[in-house]
């Protein structure tokens, strides 16, 4: 099992949180003109899973991709520039927040069609298997995906051919603003995956150490040829489905529920644990905050000073 220092796990989560908070703060300026889906509250899953991966392993993601991209090592400058629609963005401005890619670190792409990248991850694992490489491919998706046929088609094929793929279901109970009990019968999602014929786990997605431990076992299994693996992590989305705000006013969930969800903060609980072990950790946190603040400021400066693409640039790259 690959080990990552607990402090690094903490810093990685904190960094994602602070980056997204900065995005939320600046969204109202009307310069980032693309739909943005924040993963604030769900950072532990991205960080814990990616910490268990090799740099050459591959990741596919969905519309809520910032955390996955950053946890896999995606370039922050290119991500912010992409949100600002600049030519230096990771998609040259063609994608925005919902389409992130950084092939240098194995982040293969993210798209907003629910379930759409799940078969792609299986295909990527199929290619690795055919080439007899030891790469594992991971795909992150939400609980809503389990209503899409393509996900079941993908699980079936992955199990049939014992492909080295890890399916990670981030179950935050909401599809946009609709609760899971209005969309699915009461049943554990991971048991459905198990019924497709693969090893399936579930765990607390707000506990980064638990996420890392379960993921490490699953990824080792996949790498050793034991076929596809599935993990369902429970978590909670703090902010609105799409956009920078809290959404108490929409009345689809109560203020108490949101407060209770925020009470289970993966970053705060990990900090408490680390501080309990070593009181000096609170000083480390200050240091991390400072480093992250500087990095974010530089990234915004990079993005905002980057070249703007033009309408003439829009017609290129339709065909390779």
């Amino acid at each position: 099992m690959q080990q990552m220092q607990p402090a690094r796990l903490f810093k990685s989560m904190l960094r994602i949180r602070r980056i997204e908070e900065a995005l939320a703060d600046r969204y109202a300026e009307q310069e980032m003109r693309c739909p943005m889906h924040l993963c604030i509250g769900q950072e532990a899953i991205a960080v814990g899973v990616c910490a268990a991966l090799h740099p050459t392993d591959r990741v596919f993601s969905n519309h809520r991709a910032h955390g996955h991209y950053l946890a896999k090592g995606g370039n922050l400058n290119a991500m912010l520039a992409e949100l600002y629609g600049r030519a230096t963005g990771c998609c040259g401005g063609r994608g925005g927040s919902m389409h992130l890619i950084d092939l240098d670190v194995g982040f293969m792409g993210s798209t907003p069609i629910v379930g759409g990248t799940v078969p792609l991850a299986v295909g990527s694992a199929w290619a690795s298997s055919l080439k007899q490489s030891d790469q594992v491919t991971v795909v992150f998706f939400g609980d809503g995906c389990f209503e899409e046929g393509v996900v079941h088609e993908s699980l079936n094929f992955a199990a049939l051919h014992k492909l080295p793929v890890l399916f990670v279901c981030e179950n935050n109970d909401f599809s946009v603003y609709t609760r899971r009990n209005e969309r699915q019968p009461d049943r554990p999602i991971y048991r459905l995956a198990e019924a497709h014929g693969m090893a399936a786990f579930s765990g607390n997605g707000n506990d980064v150490e638990e996420v890392l431990n379960i993921s490490s076992e699953a990824i080792d299994n996949a790498r050793l040829g034991r076929g596809p693996q599935f993990i369902e992590f429970r978590t909670y989305r703090w902010r609105e489905h799409c956009g920078p705000n809290f959404d108490d006013d929409l009345n689809y969930r109560s203020t108490q529920e949101i407060e209770s969800g925020m009470g289970d903060c993966p970053i705060a609980s990990h900090a408490a644990e680390l501080t309990l072990k070593d009181a000096s950790f609170s000083r480390d946190i200050e240091k991390y905050e400072d480093e992250i603040r500087q990095e974010i400021a530089a990234a915004f400066e990079f993005a905002l000073s980057s070249k703007k693409p033009t309408s003439e640039d829009a017609c290129g790259k339709v065909y390779a």
Binding site: C91, H99, W126, A127, L130, V150, G316, Y319
Partner: protein, 363 residues
């Protein structure tokens, strides 16, 4: 055609596809072949026969009944460095995969700023006749061709079939390779070596000066029969085998129309929203002054294909339809007796719902 150095060997369209697949798989170990029935005893109308034995189970696959998922899996495999060729025994099944084809395959290169490519080939077979009916005989090329990022080709001759399949496999983009079922038994000269035919160039099948017929897929053979017969009446018809739907080789059509002044587009699809309409629009936009008469579309009617042999008699246009349209458009003095004789020669002695007299189903 530069065929002087090529061996004159005649095989049918199905065998040409099989040979193209075989040579592409032999040349490039990244090429894999997948589809419902690919390794089964019927071997997709013999187009995949023997390939499992030669290349093994790692590269020649049957697949679960999961068109959308499997298309996505093939896209993922392409992103992972393979070159998948996926096969649908009917194009109608590919509609189940529209999400993956349109949202992922077509856009991946564009939306990620050219950083990744999807070198995927999807073979789709259009059924016709012998009661193929509403869900087994649709000719949907225009629907797919509306999507930027997809290439949509309709090879016509056996030589096209092999050379364009090889080009499609070598292409870095997703290519939809649409085969008309009635082309499979047609024979023609096919070089034995590994060769490519570009995916964006029409070819002249029959030269002429009075009228241009731009024809897609099987309709090119129907137009060719009409052109040969009309020549006996002194009408000179130019027949273009369009070969590709996206991109459309508009330049070849414009060159021909500037010479003849008249245009018929013969399509295998139903009329409304067809690629025939698109081609005519482009010709009108670019060469209106060259036209001596209104362009004409030859297509199937705007209702689904029924199953009953008694209802399909007039559904598909044939060489007579083409000849009629030519005569009407040229408006030349035609001797009615000569014309009746011509139509009689074009009339086939086979039943209308089979590609040839040897054919006895099931399909």
């Amino acid at each position: 055609m530069p065929e002087l150095d090529m061996k004159k060997r005649t095989i049918n369209f199905s065998e040409a596809i099989r040979e193209g697949l075989d040579q592409a798989m032999e040349k490039d170990a990244r090429v894999i072949l997948i589809g419902e029935g690919v390794p089964d005893p019927k071997a997709i109308f013999n187009t995949t026969a023997g390939l499992l034995d030669k290349y093994g189970k790692r590269r020649v696959f049957d697949m679960p009944l999961a068109e959308n998922g499997m298309t996505g899996i093939c896209i993922g495999a392409a992103l992972g460095g393979m070159r998948p060729v996926m096969v649908h025994q009917r194009i109608d099944f590919a509609i189940l995969a529209m999400d993956q084809l349109i949202n992922n395959a077509a856009k991946w290169h564009y939306m990620f700023d050219g950083k990744a490519t999807v070198p995927l080939v999807v073979r789709m077979i259009v059924g016709r006749g012998w009661g193929q009916g509403p869900q087994h005989s649709q000719s949907l090329q225009a629907m797919f061709a509306q999507i930027p990022g997809l290439k949509v080709i309709m090879p016509t001759t056996p030589r096209d079939a092999k050379g364009m399949l090889i080009s499609a496999i070598e292409d870095e983009n997703p290519v939809l390779f649409i085969e008309h079922r009635w082309l499979h038994p047609i024979k023609g000269t096919v070089p034995e070596d590994y060769y490519q035919i570009p995916l964006d160039q029409a070819e002249i099948l029959h030269t002429g000066t009075d009228i241009t017929i731009a024809a897609f897929s099987y309709m090119a053979y129907e137009a060719l029969s009409a052109a040969k017969a009309l020549a006996s009446m002194g009408i000179s018809v130019e027949v273009l085998n369009m070969r590709s739907v996206r991109p459309l080789d508009i330049d070849s059509v414009l060159d021909s129309v500037r010479k003849t002044g008249r245009l018929i587009v013969a399509d295998t699809a139903s009329r409304a929203g067809s690629i025939a309409g698109e081609l005519i629009s482009q010709v009108v936009e670019n060469a209106f002054d060259a036209l001596k008469a209104c362009p004409v579309r030859i297509a199937s009617p705007d209702h689904p294909a029924p199953t009953s042999q008694y209802m399909t008699e007039k559904y598909y246009p044939g060489p007579n339809t083409v000849a009629d349209a030519v005569v009407k458009l040229i408006g030349a003095d035609i001797n009615p007796i000569d014309y009746a004789n011509l139509l009689a020669t074009l009339r086939s002695d086979r039943p209308h719902d089979v590609p040839n007299n040897k054919y006895s189903g099931p399909f």
